[in-house]
Symmetry: C2
Subunit: 147 residues, 2 copies
DNA sequence: ATAATTAAGGATAAATTTGTCCTTAATTAT
DNA sequence: ATAATTAAGGACAAATTTATCCTTAATTAT
């Protein structure tokens, strides 16, 4: 559904939201390990999410790392997709027509639009914070390594 | 959601299902034009769908082209995804965990699984034939060029 | 001030996806 | 039989995505 980059972005952001505090900000090594992603690549992705302080914030130097402001935690998950330039996935025609519309619907449209609506609603309603709460609190995981 | 290749595969198959008959089998040029796809690339994709006569059938030579057997028309849309090796998209974890499971759910799982179920149901229930019926009959389109 | 730590950023490489072109093989019409 | 038509298939090219590595800049601890 999403690119690897966006999957890493989602997992990393949720991890940071849950783990960061004033005292403790996870660094790249910790994050990549926790979400089971390639470290250098994930670093690039966090750079994107940090640019203009869109979603993720960071501090350099010893005890530095990544964190989310309270404001950022309240953002809908969709804002991560937007920062990754991949939120059009939610709006796309499932058969790849240039527009998904009632005016010129594809043969799947009538059935798919119901699902699409729920998908959009999910990503717009769920906040980053609420996903962070699911993580560990609700027993949700951000990797599924055996150990 | 799907790769371009799979989008072309879906559109092309639906088009062929609707347009082909004993007397008339659309060729590559016609298909690519109708579904607004790059011809040579689409040809490769139809080769995949034709291999082992999985979904699409073909005849070479004058008045040759592509068609679907009645049996093929009754296949679920998901079988096209399978032929393209891309049906795992339906089963995947939305955050990219290696497994989507109740045992080790990601933070989106509880909400997403409801949508996922509908998505799987849609692709397993809808037949290629029923989509072909939507096309032109039901006013559905396989491209949205202005003209 | 200095050294240590950590993210930012640039350059580059590998892998995959998307796409084109040309030749070959099969089939049909004449 | 021959020529025309059309899909099959191989080789290759372009574009995009994924990934690594190394240097630079900022910050902190000493
Ligand atoms: S037009 Fe294809 S899903 Fe809406
Ligand atoms: S585990 Fe992520 S969607 Fe099921």
């Amino acid at each position: 559904m999403f690119s690897k980059a966006t999957e890493y972005a989602l997992r990393a952001t949720i991890y940071i939201a849950q783990k960061s505090s004033d005292k403790n900000k996870p660094g790249m090594a910790e994050i990549a390990k926790a979400i089971d992603s390639p470290q250098s690549f994930t670093a690039k992705i966090l750079q994107l999410l940090t640019k203009n302080n869109k979603i993720v914030s960071s501090v350099r130097g010893p005890n530095g790392g990544f964190f989310l402001t309270d404001k950022a935690k309240k953002l809908p998950v969709r804002s991560i997709l937007e920062a990754m330039g991949e939120d059009e996935v939610l709006e796309k025609c499932v058969l790849g027509l240039k527009q998904c519309s009632e005016a010129k619907p594809c043969p799947m449209h009538t059935n798919y639009k119901l699902i699409k609506g729920q998908l959009i609603d999910l990503f717009e309603t769920k906040s980053i914070q609420s996903l962070a709460d699911e993580f560990e609190n609700g027993g949700a995981k951000l990797n599924n390594r055996i150990k």
